[in-house]
């Protein structure tokens, strides 16, 4: 076996593992959303399929798979089929640069691989921003090619919303980049090791505890803009049910619809992963080191790291559901005003303040 084919095989296995983890999380999220939303509204959620409805995602998948695929009359068939694929692919490949676990290396057949990150490229966060903005194309294409007024309105709203809020995401990240001095998510996460006061949301210097470089404003801006970018309530104008039936995927059914829905959930997971990596220390525990190291099991420390990463991601995912259960939808002008006149100045001011504090109090 040549080195190249071994490299390809290892990458393929990694991608497969990562895809299955993400799709499993998406399946869990579709169930968790309905259950938690039900519990918060004094309902039960799905109860019929399996004990307490835990097999509901499976039943949904089977149902959507065997559902008739309806293409509306006058739709652009090629674009209509392309849009869900584009959305799905774009929301899945963003995970390639997310470090799920510690930055350790394995030697397999003379090759050095990193088991917990598929591609540790040095511009990871730029890659994610670029990929996330391609996701808007899928939505616009789906809205335009359906030949339906609701879809088109949903697509247009999505375009305006994603462009406005992506700016805020990008600007909120800049503070973190100033602190870490790197665009690689692995290095950004490693810069936050050693206790929660080193996480960028607290922002102590490596030798101190006082939050001199705090990124809490950037964190809030990032989370709000992330909710807006994934088209979730309270920013779900592209799919506002009471106004636009279902927005850009009004005309979709069957597996294409399933692609759109799972893409939405996957981008939720992606935003949660990025927020956890950038602001909450990624795989780092909120205390220095790991418990496994203290009891002398260094080779198992990665389990604890992965658990902490999963805990942070699921915290964000729970917050998405919690917000949905609580908040009503914003009006369109409120959405735009909030994005441009509130979040953007905060993000810009955060950049300036962070730059000044990093210049005055360098991070060693």
């Amino acid at each position: 076996m040549t080195e190249l084919s071994l490299r390809l095989a290892i990458s393929f296995v990694q991608i497969l593992a990562e895809m299955s983890i993400v799709m499993l999380t998406v399946a869990i999220m579709t169930l968790a959303e309905r259950k938690v939303l039900g519990w918060m509204q004094d309902r039960m959620g799905p109860m019929e399929v399996g004990p307490y409805g835990i097999l509901q995602p499976l039943a949904d998948g089977v149902k959507l798979f065997f559902k008739e695929d309806i293409v509306p009359a006058g739709a652009n068939k090629a674009m209509f089929a392309l849009a869900p694929m584009l959305t799905m692919v774009v929301s899945m490949i963003g995970f390639a640069v997310i470090p799920f676990g510690p930055d350790m290396t394995l030697d397999i057949g003379g090759l050095t691989i990193k088991p917990f990150v598929v591609a540790d490229i040095n511009i990871g966060i730029l890659y994610i921003l670029a990929i996330a903005s391609i996701g808007a194309y899928g939505i616009i294409l789906g809205g335009w090619s359906s030949n339906s007024k609701y879809s088109l309105l949903g697509g247009l709203r999505s375009a305006a919303q994603v462009i406005s809020y992506e700016l805020n995401v990008g600007l909120a990240i800049v503070g973190v980049l100033l602190l870490s001095g790197s665009l690689s998510l692995v290095e950004i996460t490693e810069a936050q090791a050693g206790g929660f006061w080193h996480w960028f949301v607290w922002g102590a210097r490596p030798d101190g505890f006082f939050p001199i470089h705090t990124q809490v404003f950037a964190f809030v801006v990032f989370v709000i803009a992330g909710v807006a970018e994934t088209n979730r309530i309270p920013f779900d104008l592209p799919e506002a049910e009471s106004e636009l039936v279902a927005g850009f995927f009004t005309e979709y059914s069957g597996m294409k619809f399933a692609f759109f829905v799972s893409a939405e959930y996957a981008s939720m997971v992606l935003v949660s992963c990025v927020a956890a990596s950038l602001f909450l220390g990624g795989w780092n525990a909120p205390y220095p080191g790991t418990i496994f190291e203290y009891i002398g099991l260094e080779q198992l420390a990665w389990i604890e790291h992965i658990v902490w990463f999963a805990a942070k991601v699921y915290f964000f995912l729970f917050m998405f559901i919690w917000l949905r259960a609580t908040l009503p939808r914003l009006r369109y002008d409120q959405l735009m005003r909030f994005g441009w006149k509130v979040l953007l100045p905060i993000a810009l001011a955060n950049i300036i303040i962070t730059a000044v504090t990093v210049y005055l109090f360098p991070r060693g």
């Binding site: 938690v36 519990w39 918060m40 509204q41 004094d42 309902r43 039960m44 917000l323 259960a325 609580t326």
Partner: protein, 179 residues
């Protein structure tokens, strides 16, 4: 904007209050859902469900074909075709009896109107069907509903005068059949 309102705005105070409310519902989870096909609500005693025709304990139909139910029905559910009992010119019965249950609003006026208590309202309510025509019920179907819902039947009073048999429930002073 006062300072207090400003502080509330920048700390998302209203938002936090709402989030706390939903979280308290999650933590004190008491669903008000009734898992319908598995558990059913207890019906009140005067529940007005599916209509049915009743019989006496010897199996004869109570209905005397007087058309009063048809006259009482506000939504014209009932259609009665009355006829003489063959060989007994003083007695009548309903030769045909139809109920279009798609129109019925379960007011119970027909039951009140019936002079011989030949109509009854059962406690059945699961009558959804795929074909609307299945809700157009004839006499046999209505009698069958009555048979399964009212297993204990009223006795026919044989000793009373045939002319007042029409109103056999109200005349308590007339001689009754001994038990």
């Amino acid at each position: 904007m006062t300072f207090k309102a400003w502080i509330k705005t920048i700390t998302f105070y209203e938002l936090v209050v709402g989030m706390r409310a939903t979280m308290s519902h999650l933590l004190h989870y008491k669903p008000i859902t009734m898992q319908y096909p598995h558990e059913k609500r207890a019906l009140p005693d005067n529940y007005r469900g599916m209509l049915s025709l009743l019989r006496y304990d010897d199996g004869t139909e109570k209905c005397v074909g007087c058309d009063l139910c048809e006259a009482a029905c506000p939504s014209r559910v009932i259609r009665v075709v009355s006829a003489e009992v063959p060989g007994e010119p003083t007695k009548r019965y309903s030769k045909e009896y139809y109920m279009d249950m798609t129109r019925c609003l379960f007011c119970g006026l027909c039951v009140d109107a019936c002079p011989v208590d030949a109509l009854g309202m059962t406690r059945e309510y699961e009558w959804s069907v795929y074909d609307k025509r299945q809700l157009h019920l004839n006499k046999e179907q209505l009698l069958a509903i009555g048979d399964r819902s009212f297993p204990v039947r009223e006795k026919q009073l044989e000793l009373q005068h045939p002319n007042v048999a029409f109103f056999n429930v109200a005349f308590k002073h007339l001689p009754q059949k001994p038990d």
